[in-house]
């Protein structure tokens, strides 16, 4: 089963290695990993999407907690989270196809952020499956390059990572 795991860490050298290393050592494959600082520049938040069984996940969360630089870890079930992924897609666009591409961009509430003679670069920020749907629709025009950030997520509603649970 796929899990989205949020890991709040102290922004110290080597912390990414510590966290990602744990996943590979315990046989958990990381599908995507997004890292950035939080509102506090000394604290970073990693959002990791990984696949594995419940018992392995529990073991990984416990092992993550044991890391001195890890402040908090939680599993974010999809129904309790708002999730987004950002993608930039450079697609081949001739005068003939430009109109159709623009329509697709509008439908997905994406944006064109760069225009060239025979290509367009599109920015989409959406749930993962929407990013993938749009990618599929654009394929026939010829995708020249594509980059995705991996998923980021926050809990729905008023609760925050600093207010919930915490390290025992």
């Amino acid at each position: 089963m796929k899990h989205t795991i949020s890991v709040i860490v102290e922004n110290k050298p080597g912390v990414l290695h510590r966290v990602s290393g744990l996943f590979s050592r315990r046989g958990f494959n990381i599908e995507s990993l997004a890292v950035g600082t939080t509102d506090n520049p000394e604290i970073s938040r990693m959002t990791i999407v990984a696949e594995g069984d419940e018992q392995t996940l529990e073991q990984i969360i416990k092992q993550l907690y044991k890391q001195i630089d890890v402040l908090k870890v939680f599993d974010l079930p999809a129904e309790e989270a708002v999730e987004r992924e950002l993608a930039l897609i450079k697609v081949h666009a001739s005068e003939k196809t430009r109109g159709e591409i623009t329509q697709i961009v509008d439908i997905f509430k994406a944006r064109i952020i760069d225009v060239a003679q025979d290509s367009l670069t599109i920015e989409i920020s959406a749930e993962k499956h929407k990013v993938e749907d749009m990618q599929k629709l654009l394929e026939k025009f010829g995708i020249q390059e594509l980059v995705r950030t991996g998923k980021i997520a926050l809990q729905r509603g008023p609760s925050t990572s600093s207010g919930q649970g915490g390290k025992e």
């Binding site: 102290e10 044991k66 890391q67 001195i68 890890v70 390290k167 025992e168």
Partner: protein
């Protein structure tokens, strides 16, 4: 007070009460060794290999309960520490390993003797640091010692860039630590304690399965009180030897692959298994699905990640062993005399399947260990190497006190015992320290003989010499139809001559009747190590033996 980073390091170590450092110098730690040169409060013990330094720091920590310190230069010096650090990590031993690193300007350029030490040691340390600023040294030392010894102990590596060792700054030792991500749970949850107490009060056939956590937490007194009050037999893991007196009537001795038959039978038949400071290692459980099949499980451990890792637990208690046992003793009431039928059954197993070996005209390794026990009156610190020597030492020496058993459990490091004995003897100068060794293992760190000679350490090395890598040979005999691939050490050097060349005393013992006299003679040598080369029965096996992947009651007894 303006100090260089190196001087600040030494001052910080003194603040942490460090009296001994085991180490080996080199280019990237020259400033530290220069600061040590004039230092009186810290004794540096020069080993002949960095691996020896790491194991010595580990042995020192195991017998004293203090943090052991080792030091090495960058690159190869640091990588030579790795086996020692991994050994300490697997057995939860508090050591601080200080390594030099190339100057910050040279880091990342494949400089001479550069290795990514924090990267390499990340999976085998509780925590590690790369120090690039001299000013950070005091705070990092304070944190490192706190992390190494608190909670579930473990090794911490501090890799210090050379320029951080030489830069001067105003030294002040911090009095506070701020580690928001590190707060070990010491007190078990009251609701779980209550649930455990209830389970204990209604069980019929309980067994306590005690591990190294009892020794680390200093809970031997509490364990004895708990076991006696509830009338519950106690088996210990190999790491838990000394946690419960071997001569106690409730003692089942060691369980697992080479445990006693009665301990393994008791575990397989019990209806409640109380695991304390133990981690259900595969050498203990055998085939996991068949382990303690009739039992409910209470698991007490300071490390939450150990609970539920290998077995499903009915009552998990995250907490310090000593504290939790105290809470349990206060909570559980049970009338004395309960479990009588169960204890009677165990008595029968003990009578029917005692730990024993066939005596004959040959010199038996088990007999050597029994005689070591006899002549030392059970008062020695026993270090071991890994393999048959280790198992015979565990089986035939009786341990009644904590911190008298020094052996590599988790990692199973051959070559550990002798340097660990050096650390043990430095930490406990008045104790009788033995290294029970095999002829294979002793050769892995034999160079430390000169360290022991130079420091006048009267370590007794008892080599159970069967001219084989005995444990591997045993597996080849029993599981690979006697194909002794690469285990015959027929071309061993003359260990007596080797020891003498290093300046140690040495003797060879070939007959059973010579053993006692040789040991008594060895005990009288107080100014240097003594190696006793016991020419033991070559194809002796360790029994009981649970073949890998079997249930622990499916053991070969002889």
């Amino acid at each position: 007070m303006e100090l260089t980073g190196a001087e600040a390091l030494i001052e910080s170590l003194k603040k942490e009460g460090v009296e001994h450092i085991f180490g080996y110098p080199g280019g990237a730690v020259l400033p530290i060794y220069d600061a040590l040169y004039k230092e009186k409060a810290i004794q540096h013990i020069l080993t002949r290999h960095e691996q020896g330094a790491a194991h010595a720091a580990d042995g020192y920590a195991r017998v004293t309960g203090k943090v052991g310190v080792c030091m090495a230069t960058s690159g190869p010096g640091a990588t030579n520490l790795i086996t020692g650090i991994a050994t300490a990590y697997m057995d939860s031993i508090p050591i601080v390993a200080i390594t030099g690193q190339v100057a910050t300007a040279l880091i990342g350029r494949d400089s001479f003797q550069e290795a990514d030490v924090t990267g390499i040691t990340q999976p085998i340390t509780k925590h590690n640091y790369l120090v690039k600023n001299a000013e950070d040294i005091p705070q990092i030392i304070k944190e490192a010692f706190h992390i190494a010894k608190s909670g579930r102990p473990g090794p911490v590596v501090i890799d210090i860039a050379k320029d951080a060792q030489t830069k001067k700054f105003k030294f002040k030792y911090p009095d506070k630590i701020d580690l928001p991500g590190y707060k070990p749970t010491l007190k078990g949850h009251p609701r779980q304690i209550k649930a455990a107490a209830k389970m204990i009060s209604i069980c019929q056939r309980p067994v306590i399965y005690a591990g190294g956590g009892i020794i680390i937490s200093g809970a031997t007194k509490e364990l004895k009180e708990f076991a006696e009050k509830m009338n519950i037999p106690v088996t210990t893991t190999m790491m838990g030897l000394g946690a419960f007196p071997d001569d106690h009537e409730l003692a089942l001795h060691m369980l697992g692959m080479h445990g006693t038959a009665y301990a393994n039978y008791a575990v397989q038949e019990c209806d409640l298994l109380i695991a304390i400071g133990a981690r259900f290692d595969d050498r203990v459980t055998g085939h996991l699905a068949t382990f303690a099949p009739k039992a409910k499980h209470i698991h007490i451990d300071i490390d939450p990640a150990e609970i539920g890792k290998n077995v499903q637990v009915d009552v998990p208690i995250v907490g310090d062993a000593k504290q939790t046992l105290r809470d349990l003793i206060a909570k559980v009431e049970i009338e004395r005399g309960k479990h009588e039928a169960w204890l009677k059954q165990i008595e029968e197993w003990k009578k029917k399947y005692p730990l024993t070996y066939k005596k004959g005209k040959y010199l038996k390794p088990q007999y050597v260990v029994e005689m070591i026990y006899q002549v030392t009156k059970g008062e020695a610190i026993i270090c071991t190497e890994v393999g048959q020597n280790q198992m015979w030492a565990a089986q035939y020496y009786k341990f009644n006190k904590p911190r008298t058993w020094v052996s590599s459990g988790g990692l199973g490091t051959m070559g550990y015992g002798f340097p660990a004995a050096i650390g043990a003897q430095v930490g406990k100068p008045d104790a009788i320290v033995f290294d029970i060794a095999g002829d294979g293992s002793i050769q892995m760190n034999i160079q430390e003989m000169v360290t022991a000679v130079n420091n006048k350490l009267p370590i007794k090395i008892a080599v159970l010499n069967n001219c084989y890598l005995g444990m591997v040979r045993q597996w080849q005999e029993l599981l690979y139809e006697k194909r002794y691939s690469a285990t015959d050490l027929y071309n061993n050097p003359d260990l007596v001559k080797v020891a003498e060349a290093f300046g140690a005393a040495a003797m060879r013992i070939t007959k059973p009747e010579e053993v006692k006299k040789a040991l008594e003679k060895a005990l009288k040598i107080k100014d240097r190590p003594v190696l006793m080369d016991f020419a033991v029965n070559k194809e002796e096996n360790v029994f009981p033996f649970v073949p890998p992947g079997q249930a622990i009651n499916e053991m070969l007894i002889d």
